[in-house]
Point group: C2
């Protein structure tokens, strides 16, 4: 049975009001009383009951993050680093992080609704935005504080951090073309994800600038996993007209594609070029190391928390919309180095 303010009040002979105010350092409490109260609190090992504090203050000091797990499994090095960024920054400012897992679908909105209306969280971080994102529409309607990692289609009147996928993929296209590539294939993440759209668009634009079209048959829709990349790249590689380069929409798929190429006896970076997106730690140490686009995922997490806390505090985040330029990291998988 943990000690309460009441216990301290009894032990000190003061009222709960005075104890509360003493602990918070209000100056309508004498220095002597303050010292006494603090000493007794220490003795009793007092910790304020957060549930009571929260009910009283009508604030949960908690931010919500719902991981969009596709399927029961979910293994993404990208997210663990993102989570670290979010968690560390939130902790620094005394906020808790409520993490849920919820696949997109009919129950998804309810999960958000319950947490917002049930006052479980003061705000949300939305990840993996979709082209039409009902989560964002809901939060906007409910006037609940939120920030998004990624953009959506339509009016961008909400705070977000995103990487410029179009620019990133144009860099990739330029680089691969400069190495002599003419026939490309693209492993795209699920097309309802907004970043998938940007990345495809960027690649298309980048190639078109060199008069190289990206044909529908050269685009394969994957699922962001290594296994998926392995499978889909395999089917590409088994075609009569093998592409000279496989551009993947994220690093995991790219690593899977590398594996598929290698298991067919191809030398990656020589017989075929492969690139990714994200620059997860794995990309640096794969064999060969993966050419990819770097985004500072840890910092993005931290930045989103800063923005969200500003909104929760009733301020306007500065800046409130951030578009980061991904940096092309050229490694050996594309045959350059």
């Amino acid at each position: 049975m943990p000690a309460t303010i009441k216990d301290i009040a009894e032990r000190t002979g003061k009222s709960v009001t005075t104890v509360s105010r003493a602990l918070h350092g209000y100056d309508d409490v004498s220095a002597q009383t303050k010292a006494l109260v603090r000493q007794v609190a220490e003795e009793l090992g007092y910790e304020p009951n957060r549930l009571a504090q929260r009910l009283q203050k009508q604030r949960s000091d908690t931010i919500g993050l719902i991981l969009p797990t596709f399927g029961p499994r979910f293994s993404d090095p990208f997210f663990s680093e993102f989570l670290a960024g979010v968690g560390n920054r939130a902790a620094r400012d005394g906020f808790d992080l409520l993490v849920s897992t919820q696949a997109p679908g009919p129950n998804e909105l309810q999960a958000y609704r319950r947490k917002v209306q049930g006052r479980q969280v003061d705000g949300f971080i939305i990840v993996r935005t979709r082209r039409q994102d009902e989560r964002i529409e809901y939060l906007r309607r409910a006037k609940a504080p939120f920030v998004a990692f990624g953009r959506t289609e339509g009016v961008l009147d909400f705070p977000f951090v995103d990487e410029d996928g179009v620019l990133g993929m144009r860099l990739v296209a330029d680089h691969l073309v400069s190495l002599g590539g003419r026939h490309f294939a693209y492993l795209t993440p699920p097309q309802e994800l907004m970043f998938a759209h940007y990345r495809l668009e960027g690649l298309r634009q980048g190639l078109l600038a060199h008069d190289i079209p990206l044909r529908p048959t050269d685009i394969i829709a994957g699922d962001l996993t290594q296994r998926g990349g392995f499978r889909d790249a395999g089917s590409l590689l088994d075609r009569a007209a093998r592409p000279q380069a496989i551009v993947a929409g994220n690093d995991l798929m790219a690593l899977g594609a590398m594996s598929a190429a290698q298991s067919r006896g191809l030398i990656v970076g020589q017989d075929i070029a492969i690139t990714g997106f994200d620059d997860i730690p794995m990309a640096e140490h794969s064999h060969p190391p993966l050419t990819t686009l770097h985004q500072p995922i840890y910092e993005i997490g931290a930045m989103l928390v800063d923005m969200l806390l500003a909104i929760i505090a009733g301020r306007v985040p500065q800046p409130s919309q951030v578009l980061l330029e991904p940096r092309l990291v050229v490694r050996r998988s594309c045959g350059a180095a």
Copy 2:
């Protein structure tokens, strides 16, 4: 301003008591009133205020998980899958998951204390147990519900799930010796981690059974990361007497070691054998695929939640101590297949 029970009471002309009981389906409320209350609740979009519920019930319906981030960065595919297992199972039973990040150190215990005594969580899942684990000692003293992923030294009087690291590494040793290896090196995780201890001990035992000693110079202490594995394996490989096999304490270090070997022109699985531990998704699709020990990390997470919820509910978890046998997954990195 979300609707409260009071609002429903006013709209229906009933008391808050009746509304509360109607919503919970108590049978001292007439069917008619129940229907009315539910309809109005629906109309108003009523969601119970969890903060109030929690204060009243003295339960937070939340379980805590503190990720031991070493350094600011933290990228571990192992944990994201573990998190999915924990999160999904907790959500199934209506529990929230409070995730924090906290490096081991002087502030660590305070983080646990605050959440336990502040009633923020009903129980904890401890991960990456250490040989002497003050977190466990504290939670035991505080009589707070907890379960651990891993064991500790001393009396094992707490509920845990762990893999049998000794057995696992003996399997590895047997296998590598059967392939003709005589000179081994081991990349160990930080030795204060209990699983590092078991794994080293298992390897030692396994080799000793074949009269092969593991000399202190053949053991290098790493940090669980791919980068660390790359660096440490590199220093091993640059020695005059190069080991025939590098056994790594986890998959990430093993992948780093593979990269180090390959960057020195060695063919992994032929010039040198490399093995890991964990069987992360990456292991299957690395090149060559990594021989490793499989542990069902998603299920472990789910199992731990089941056990913890039992304890929170005042029951005794069945079983309360689980030791899983890791399965040796032989792939090409050790030269067998």
